[in-house]
């Protein structure tokens, strides 16, 4: 009887553990199946490098370059915001902050990480966009710049907390060795701690990029939504995620437009997959370098 119960438990937990694998396979399968007709009917490189996204015209055009460029520009902009703030926060917390400063800052960062993206979008739309529009005298505040800014703020807690972990993994003995040789705190930080945590910090940044690439709500609300190649960072853009979110409801099931949106989803999936693989490779190397094992 006891043996039987143990077998049951083992099965239940195995099934639960494999559930996520099942979901992942299901998602990938759906993406492939639904975008397959699109790739049969359209040339891949023509779609990816096509400049015109007119899915409802007759005949429709499914050039995705504007959407891919938009995602790229907005993500790059977000990085410019979140890397210095995130890494700076991590180093401050680990190396310079007093216990009481840490006690205040850390929970604040966690709260920031927990704010739903719709709130960030709302904040960008109601506060940041009009402010920038007035400040810079530009036609619209809903553009790539605003989206980058809001997205960057949103990705900052991810970068900050992961980079902080990386810095905290640097053994105290490295710091002691450096200080005992007569290095000051700044030298110890820049020449020992940061290089030792380097690949860990890179991983944090890459995962931050992943978060920015896949984010939908913020770019849908503040990026402006124009499917054209931007000439300046203050032009409105239409990133991939926003395109899918905005158009999926209107696309006729099984139509070319429908397949094209799934194709965008598939491309997005491969981009984030690549980002995660790179992050994993770097972080594995990081742990080896510090002698922390696998």
């Amino acid at each position: 009887m006891r043996h039987f119960r143990e077998t049951i438990y083992k099965w239940i937990f195995s099934v639960l553990a494999f559930a996520s694998l099942l979901f992942l396979t299901g998602i990938i399968l759906t993406l492939f199946v639904e975008s397959y007709p699109f790739f049969v009917r359209h040339d891949i490189s023509e779609s990816i490098f096509g400049l015109y996204w007119y899915p409802t015209y007759d005949p429709p055009e499914f050039g995705m370059l504007t959407l891919i460029t938009a995602s790229f520009v907005v993500t790059l902009g977000a990085m410019v915001v979140c890397i210095p703030i995130g890494v700076g926060t991590a180093l401050f917390l680990q190396e310079l902050a007093s216990a009481s400063q840490r006690a205040v800052l850390k929970p604040l960062i966690e709260i920031l990480a927990g704010i739903p993206s719709i709130i960030f979008g709302f904040f960008g739309m109601i506060v940041v966009a009009p402010f920038l529009q007035r400040l810079l005298g530009i036609p619209t505040g809903l553009n790539a710049f605003t989206a980058s800014l809001v997205l960057g703020i949103m990705a900052t807690p991810t970068v900050a907390s992961l980079a902080e972990d990386a810095v905290s993994f640097v053994p105290r003995s490295f710091r002691e060795a450096s200080l005992a040789l007569g290095a000051n705190r700044w030298q110890t930080l820049t020449r020992v701690v940061v290089p030792a945590a380097g690949s860990g910090i890179s991983t944090a940044i890459i995962l931050g990029i992943g978060r920015a690439v896949g984010e939908t709500m913020v770019v849908l609300m503040v990026a402006g939504g124009a499917a054209v190649i931007p000439h300046s960072i203050f032009d409105p853009v239409r990133p991939m995620t926003a395109t899918i979110a905005a158009e999926m409801g209107e696309a006729v099931m099984g139509s070319g437009h429908y397949g094209a949106l799934f194709a965008i989803g598939l491309i997005l999936f491969f981009i984030t997959l690549a980002i995660n693989i790179v992050a994993e490779i770097i972080s594995r190397r990081f742990r080896l370098k510090l002698g922390l094992g696998r």
Binding site: A99, P171, S173, F174, E176, A177, S178, L179, A180, L181, G182, A183, N184, Q187, R191, V192, P195, A196, K289, L290, G291
Partner: protein, 253 residues
Amino acid sequence: MDCDVKIRARNIDFYYRRSRALKNISLDVLKKRVTALIGPSGCGKSTFIRLFNRMNDLIPGARVEGQILLDGFDIYHPKTDVVSLRRRVGMVFQKPNPFPKSIFDNLAYGLTITDVRDKEFIEHKVIDSLKKAALYNEVKDRLHDNALMLSGGQQQRLCIARCLAVEPEVILFDEPAASLDPISTRKIEELLLELKNEYTIVIVTHNMQQAARVSDYTAFMYLGELVEYGDTERIFTVPKEKMTEEYLSGKFG
């Protein structure tokens, strides 16, 4: 006698938050001699030598009372430059702690942080220090390999070489062989005996035989107090205190 004193500790009390880790310790470390601190773990010997290069400054809630004089100058004086103090008083830690950099860069580190740029000088200093630490022959063909690839004993000699490259006057050894095998330990001990001609050495060890082998003077500490201090041979043969005798004969520890 007095002119040979390198470090003079006077009535040292050390507090870690509320607890008193060191109790009224006075001790003179003589120039170019090996002084060993022995005692059961937790007796405060590591805490004590970490006062000599102010490593305890890093511990939040730590407080020192009393005076430590290096060549007559108070190292806890508010105007003391901690950075230059640590260049004069080097330290080798219990666990080998090379940086995750090349062997060469590990040794050059202490020089480049003081803006030494002369490449020839650095290279000369690196090789010279590796030779002094009896490591050069083992690593001369792979100076640019990562230092973490070396064995534990080699890593510890690298740390000693790294310390020598800065040209300290005093070297503090905090149980330098505690994590090493017997053969590596012997190499470190041989090295200590060579280094004492040029440097003032203070070594913490919980290994009594090691203290007997390498040191000229031995201090026995127990529960934060200095029980007995004197000539190593005398301490090991005719200890004055009953507690020293009991510790050395293995009655507790």
